[in-house]
């Protein structure tokens, strides 16, 4: 992580993302859907291309030159990712398919051996389905209770009853940053409360790690999951970080090659962490690409990335409100410092599908739907929202394009 004053993020960053040079429907693309998936810089594309062109071989077996190089590149990425989130050891980094698989790993492996009928876990109403459904599936098998932290009208966690909810619970699993509202949750406070109650803290950091300097020790997390493709990396690779003593005690998740020390007709001995959790040939090129993404973000400086998000989010909140007034309602905290660059909004009574369709004609890419957070949609009293989300390559001109394109929505659907 860079110390001191970080250089500002400017147009030179955007120029490193080849896809952003294209146009759609004859208009330059305005990509505002990074909370769903980020674009990829040349550095990441080149790293993956180079890997396939010059190194490609299976890892952790084979003594020949390129097999060793493949292993080295993959393990270098593990080291890079560990450094990026200030993990005490690279061995605590487990590569998965995505954050969803990482959360399923926690549920299946830790939950499957620690949760029973007398137990309870705590989730929040703003979780992504990836941090809900694995627990529903496990609860149906093992019969533990799931409790819910409610949200306030401005899209923050309502912690009034936190101590009561945590009483007797074994786990609190919470998002660090809402993928719908952008809300930054008080992870430090939640960690302290969970640990005080004897519960572990699992953090869905899928939206957090790509956007803020992350230190797992500072957060106080016991488990943390995130995904590569939202942080300038490729799809197909996610990460579970957990404290080594937890990983050591947890049973394997998937069985197969790589995750064993020995196999007999009677049984098997699992490999050491992290390999115990990485059955089968891993997504090597994707892991290499994730390593390149981490180094790319480190080059920008995560303090600068966060400052850019805050500045652009503030500009977006001001501009959208100035131009559209009462026609637009942006969900979530109104103060940019309390949120990330995720803007879910309602425009008049126009359905999000129709909004995104009209914006698309102007080249503006936003997401419409429930954003895999249906319990939250019910709390907000809507079936869907339109969501614009920002990243390092966005600038004020992208926000202006969104603001202007919304005028066309008003013209078409106005009464």
């Amino acid at each position: 992580m860079s110390a001191g004053a970080s250089p500002e993020i400017d147009g030179a960053v955007k120029a490193q993302f080849p896809l952003l040079e294209r146009s759609v429907h004859g208009r330059p693309i305005v990509y505002l859907d990074s909370a769903a998936s980020s674009q990829k810089p040349t550095a990441v594309l080149d790293a993956m291309d180079d890997y396939y062109r010059t190194i490609n071989a299976n890892v952790h077996r084979g003594a020949y030159e390129i097999a060793a190089a493949a292993t080295e590149q993959m393990e270098q990425a593990r080291t890079d990712v560990a450094r990026f989130i200030s993990a005490p050891s690279a061995d605590e980094i487990v590569f998965t398919k995505n954050a969803t698989e990482a959360m399923n790993l926690v549920a299946r492996s830790w939950g499957g051996s620690n949760l029973g009928p007398a137990d309870a876990i705590v989730l929040t109403e703003m979780e992504h389905h990836a941090n809900i459904v694995p627990w529903h599936i496990l609860a149906a098998e093992r019969g533990f209770e799931i409790r819910w932290i409610p949200i306030t009208h401005d899209g923050c966690l309502d912690l009034t009853d936190l101590d009561r909810l945590l009483d007797g619970a074994k786990l609190l699993s919470v998002t660090a940053m809402s993928n719908v509202l952008g809300t930054l949750n008080p992870i430090g406070r939640l960690a302290a409360a969970a640990h005080e109650a004897g519960a572990l803290l699992s953090v869905d950091a899928s939206q957090y790690v790509p956007h803020l300097p992350t230190d797992v020790g500072e957060l106080g997390a016991d488990f943390m999951v995130f995904t590569g493709h939202k942080m300038c990396g490729p799809t197909g690779v996610g990460v579970l970080w957990a404290r080594m003593e937890l990983l050591d005690a947890m049973p394997p998740f998937l069985g197969g090659g790589e995750m064993i020390l020995d196999v007999t007709k009677e049984g098997f001995r699992p490999n050491t962490v992290p390999h115990k959790f990485e059955a089968g040939t891993p997504p090597i090129a994707e892991i290499v690409g994730l390593g390149a993404a981490v180094r790319f973000l480190e080059g920008l400086g995560m303090d600068a990335v966060r400052a850019h998000d805050v500045s652009l989010t503030g500009y977006a909140l001001r501009t959208l409100t100035d131009r559209h007034g009462d026609d637009i309602t942006v969900h979530g905290p109104s103060e940019p410092a309390q949120r990330g660059g995720v803007l879910s909004f309602v425009y008049r009574d126009v359905h999000p599908h129709d909004i995104s369709q009209v914006l698309d004609q102007s080249g503006v890419c936003v997401r419409a739907g429930h954003h895999c957070a249906k319990p939250l949609m019910r709390c907000l009293g809507v079936s869907a929202t339109t969501r614009a989300s920002l990243y390092v390559y966005n600038d004020t001109s992208d926000i202006d394009s969104l603001t202007e394109a919304l005028d066309e929505v008003g013209a078409l659907f106005g009464h």
Binding site: H25, H351, H353, A384, F413
Partner: protein
């Protein structure tokens, strides 16, 4: 290139702004059928009354985008007073109009379905004679992700009628 005017025809916007047969009938005697689009959370709730094999009344509830709401509104106007066989026929014609062959989409959809129906499936030609206002929804096939919106109400009605027939 497919433009917004292909999707949002004036008659569609009219049905969206002034939905016909909006509401809910008391069940029983009315029958009830629901349709969900899990991708966007849209929901349509149909209640309809039957006299013999004729749908004598139908109301549309739920919420959704302009296409799903307009399509359900137009459907309600088209099917009230019709027999089950006529409705099934109409449903087949409508869904034929909404079905596309991969090759007719072509890149950004620019070459597909210029309005003459040349890219459409053959079965829609005679159906088109009877679809009337519903023809306005033809442009939806140029926007493949919206086809599910247009067929949401129709699928719910087909399911509802099948269930009613099966229940005797």
């Amino acid at each position: 290139m497919a433009g917004l005017e292909d999707l949002y025809r004036e008659i569609i916007l009219d049905h969206y702004r002034n939905p016909r047969n909006r509401g809910e009938l008391e069940c029983p005697p009315a029958h009830r059928s629901e349709g969900f689009n899990p991708l966007c959370g849209d929901e349509v709730v149909l209640t309809f009354e039957m006299d013999g094999d004729v749908v004598t009344d139908l109301r549309v509830g739920g919420y959704g985008c302009s296409i799903s709401q307009a399509s359900a509104s137009m459907m309600s106007a088209a099917v009230i007073g019709k027999t089950i066989d006529e409705i099934r026929d109409l449903t087949r014609s409508f869904k034929a109009m909404m079905s596309i062959h991969e090759e007719s989409i072509g890149g950004d959809g620019s070459e597909a379905l210029d309005g003459s129906g040349t890219g459409d499936s053959g079965s829609s030609t005679d159906g088109a004679l009877r679809l009337g206002d519903l023809e306005a929804l033809r442009g939806v096939v140029k926007f493949p992700v919206r086809i599910k919106c247009a067929t949401l109400g129709w699928n719910a009605l087909a399911t509802g009628i099948d269930e009613t027939v099966a229940a005797g």
